[in-house]
């Protein structure tokens, strides 16, 4: 009986540790995911506003023309368009998007593991509540 009590104490400690760990992990991932998403939105919208003010999107109007025209001006116009993009903002936006994708990728990759942990923690907590 004494051993069972000790085992219970050990498992309680382990579950307490794991609950703290998983919660911290999720909170940090969600926080940074949202932060990167927000920064992507802010930087991308500023970049688009600047491009709008410069009428840079007019450079892409040739896409409405015939295929021959598109073929002829595609490379040249794209280079011009790219040169008109505010470079630092553009790079920050790209980095932010990459960070969002990385965060989502890590979450998706570990999804099964986190789900299993959450299920186990829930089961343990509910069994503890029942025994009370």
């Amino acid at each position: 009986m004494k051993d069972k009590n000790l085992e219970k104490k050990i498992l309680k400690g382990v579950y307490r540790l794991e609950t703290k760990r998983t919660t911290t992990y999720l909170l940090i991932r969600v926080f940074f995911g949202l932060l990167f998403l927000l920064s992507t939105f802010v930087f991308a919208s500023v970049t688009i506003d600047i491009l709008n003010e410069q009428n840079s999107f007019d450079l892409l109007d040739f896409f409405r023309d015939d295929f021959e025209v598109i073929k002829k001006y595609l490379f040249e116009n794209l280079i011009d368009f790219f040169q008109e993009i505010p470079q630092p903002l553009f790079y920050v936006s790209v980095i932010s998007i990459l960070l969002v994708l990385a965060t989502v990728f890590i979450l998706v990759k570990n999804f099964k593991k986190i789900k299993n942990k959450l299920v186990a923690i829930y089961k343990f907590q509910s069994s503890k509540d029942k025994t009370k």
Partner: protein, 166 residues
């Protein structure tokens, strides 16, 4: 069907932490008995067993499932025991005044006899302590590293304590 340790570890690594109860169930008794042979107090033994399993759980992501669990657990037990003994080690008080202050009712002659035990350098350091300098200031004053000053003080205290116990 009974799962092997390797399968259990793989499941735990996959997030199915409820399988940890199998490891706890299998090894708690033997670890408890082993620690009990070293430490008599039941509460301390229980605390150590808990620490062992918590430490193992923390390390489980890094644990190679191809290796057996038992030796790894006993290595943790060994480390925990070391830490336990270290925490129980008697600590010498830091305040030198315990030995040479007016509060401990020593007569001046007694103080003299105590001071005779000390080398000139130890005396010099204790005078600085008496004047209220901290260890860092003393190390700068006598131009010696801080750790050397601490060692000198510690050795001097041991001498004084032995004398005090006589």
């Amino acid at each position: 069907m009974k799962l092997t340790d390797k399968e259990i570890i793989l499941k735990i690594k996959n997030g199915e932490i409820d399988y940890y109860s199998f490891i706890v169930g299998e090894y708690t008794n033997s670890i408890y008995r082993y620690i009990k042979t070293k430490i008599k107090k039941h509460e301390d033994v229980e605390d150590l067993v808990q620490n062992v399993f918590t430490s193992f759980y923390r390390a489980i992501e890094r644990f190679d499932e191809e290796k057996p669990i038992k030796p790894y657990l006993y290595q943790i037990v060994k480390n925990e025991l070391k830490m336990f003994y270290r925490s129980r080690k008697p600590v010498l008080p830091l305040k030198e005044e315990i030995y040479i202050s007016d509060d401990n009712n020593l007569e001046i002659e007694d103080k003299e006899s105590y001071l005779k035990l000390l080398s000139n350098q130890e005396k010099e350091i204790f005078i600085y302590i008496d004047e209220g300098y901290n260890y860092e200031e003393i190390s700068r004053k006598i131009n010696k590293p801080l750790n050397t000053v601490k060692s000198i003080i510690r050795r001097a205290r041991v001498k004084l304590r032995i004398k005090n116990q006589e």
